[in-house]
Amino acid sequence: MKREDFLREPVVHMKLNSKMTVNEFIQQFGNSGCFGAGRLSTACDIFERMIRDDECTIFLAIAGAVVPAGLRTVISDIIRKKLVDVIVSTGANMVHDLIEALGGHHYKGHWLVNDSVLYGYHIYRIYDIFVPEEDFTKADVAVADMFDEIAKESNSRTLSSHELTREIGARLTDSKSILRAAYEANVPVFLPAIRDSEFGVIYQFHMKKHSKDKILQVDAFKEVPEIIEIAKKSPRLGMVVIGGGVPRNTIQHAAVTVGKGLDHAVVITMDRAETGGLSGSTLEETVSWGKVKKKAGKVMVIGDALIVFPLMVAAVLERLGDKFVRRVK
């Protein structure tokens, strides 16, 4: 590269006004093009590109406590608008979706609190969110009843996690629920680490009530070929990651297994690369595994997903307009 190649695009300083829309605001970030602002602007461009690509299957990975913190409706809305095709989540986020679907709540709390007092009052803390134990207990009972029913109806057939979440979604009535929206929009919800959440406790409740032949059977490996098949059928693959961990790598694994690698990738995380952990691994590192294409549109936004994700979705919804209907071949 020549010297002038490094000096092609000057920073355009942001200009703000009182009537700006979200997308106009994000475009000012793009004019700067620097630091987190530049990355968020690029993330919006990439997300828009994958939505407008009618041959792209969009996977959304959800990790970290974003559902109890307030992203539940943002996620169920984009499912209903068909802006994502496949959800891969931690079990915990879907449990928190169920807590609200079954009448419970999450409360605004504080991170600076005496946790022994919370313990005494049967209140759980997720950073600055409080959840009453009874909301978990009521969800445990209700979902364990669903497990009883699903086990009976499945007649000893082993289910994968997305078959189970579909069955659960079918039994909910709350239109704001992610699992209900996914059921109605026919979007599969994979929970690759399902037992590592309240679902494990619910399973134990269910299991102890029944003889071995009447227990719900969920096989973690059954979904491996199922998600690979989705990736295989799709000409192009896109991924939006909230957090990282098992959900992110489940998608990346599917992409590399079919020998394609992802064409578009947006990762929102606050994790660091130096530990070697997957959540903080850079998308350049991911290229070395063949999980993301070298020429993919890719960006990692280092920031709080509770700020970054809604801004990105709002900006892209504005760009698409109210009449936009996504068509996927």
Binding site: N114, V117, Y119, G120, H122, P132, E134, T137, K138, K209
Partner: protein
């Protein structure tokens, strides 16, 4: 928010039992032992049974349920 004094009560009450999970604070708990046996598993915090197992959990539900009961003068099960 005030720091509450931990409950010292270790009477044979469901709210002081190892198998309790809050169901309706502070009055009702889910007894996981009864749940596994498909019995009526939502029981009063101030109830008791022969399978009572002491719990190390220092919670306020018994204390608060007692306060509420005394206020309402409701009959309860004693040790």
């Amino acid at each position: 928010m005030t720091l509450r004094k931990k409950s010292k009560s270790k009477n044979r009450l469901c709210g002081n039992c190892h198998y309790h999970n809050m169901y309706e604070y502070p009055d009702l708990i889910l007894c996981s032992l009864r749940y596994q046996n498909s019995n009526d598993f939502i029981v009063p915090t101030l109830g008791c049974c022969e399978k009572w197992t002491p719990d190390s959990q220092e919670c306020f539900c018994v204390e608060e349920a007692m306060k509420k009961r005394n206020k309402n003068s409701v009959e309860h099960c004693k040790e």
